[in-house]
């Protein structure tokens, strides 16, 4: 299980690096979307690893609500590009 988590951290580092060196704002947004999904799935994995119901609930809430922020941000950035 720890090996699984290590591989997930490795997969998480790829979009972080991408967001660091990318200039185009939409590619950064893609990296952010990828990171948001990955972190919440990792929270779920940790909750199962520890058999902790409370962390699992938080992970599910972050997974379902956190993406709304992304869509808001995407629309605001689109409006910025228009003007």
């Amino acid at each position: 299980m720890t090996v699984v988590l290590m591989a997930m951290i490795l997969a998480l580092l790829i979009p972080i690096y991408e967001a660091w060196q990318e200039d185009d704002i939409w590619q950064t947004m893609l990296a952010f979307a990828s990171i948001a999904t990955k972190t919440s799935v990792m929270i779920l994995v940790v909750s199962v690893l520890r058999d902790d119901w409370m962390i699992g609930v938080v992970g599910a809430i972050i997974l379902s609500v956190g993406n709304a922020a992304l869509m808001l941000l995407a629309h605001i950035i689109k409006r910025m590009g228009e003007l």
Binding site: V58, I62, L73, M80
Partner: protein, 210 residues
């Protein structure tokens, strides 16, 4: 403690450093979102479920949205122009007048210059030169652009600028000193004369002119 906790903890200063070192404000906003997601994961892994939930909802969602609105409305330069010139900018019908051509050129140059500093240019139209000047004094716009013959010119300044007036028919008055400094460095590409209104007003008051 398991070893993966240390690695996840190391991600937090990494992303925080990315936020601090980012110069583009919009990219920094997205970096802040990444930092929020990583921080929420770290808090959940360390066992603080309530803190993680608050970080995800308030720190990521609310703060990012508010910051985005704030950055978008503050990084803008409002340029006041006269009505007929402003109308010409929106439409594609390019009249063969030299003045319209000039305003178009000037706004394009301003846009590319401001884009280097991650700012936008917003045009505000006013019906006559008097309203334009009033708007500048009332701080509705950051700068105005018009032909100097149309505006209330000060005699003491006409002498000094008579040489440059022949080269550039348009004159830009800027209220914000920092903007004036930024634009002054690239003055040659703009094709206009720049006047720092703050300095003008200060000098007027010392001279005793209304």
């Amino acid at each position: 403690m398991d070893s993966y906790i240390y690695i996840i903890t190391a991600l937090l200063p990494l992303t925080a450093g990315m936020v601090v070192l980012q110069v583009n404000p919009y990219h920094a906003l997205i970096m802040r979102g990444i930092l929020g997601a990583v921080a929420a994961m770290l808090y959940a892994v360390l066992g603080a479920a309530d803190v993680a939930l608050t970080e995800a909802l308030v720190g990521t969602m609310l703060a990012i949205t508010l910051y985005a609105v704030a950055v978008r409305s503050s990084l803008v330069m409002r340029l006041g122009v006269l009505q007929e010139e402003g109308m010409e900018l929106g439409s594609n019908s390019f009249v063969e007048g030299k003045s319209k051509d000039h305003v178009q050129q000037l706004t394009n140059a301003l846009r590319t210059l401001l884009a280097k500093h991650y700012m936008r240019l917003e045009l505000a139209c006013y019906p006559n030169p008097k309203a334009l000047h009033q708007a500048l004094l009332a701080k509705e716009v950051h700068a105005t652009c018009a032909q100097p013959s149309q505006r209330i010119t000060k005699e003491s300044y006409e002498n000094k600028q008579s040489t440059s007036l022949e080269r550039y028919p348009y004159q830009t008055q800027i209220r914000v000193h920092r903007l004036y400094e930024i634009l002054q460095t690239e003055l040659s590409s703009l094709g206009t004369t720049l006047i720092d209104v703050d300095a003008v007003d200060a000098k007027d008051s010392t001279e005793g002119n209304p």
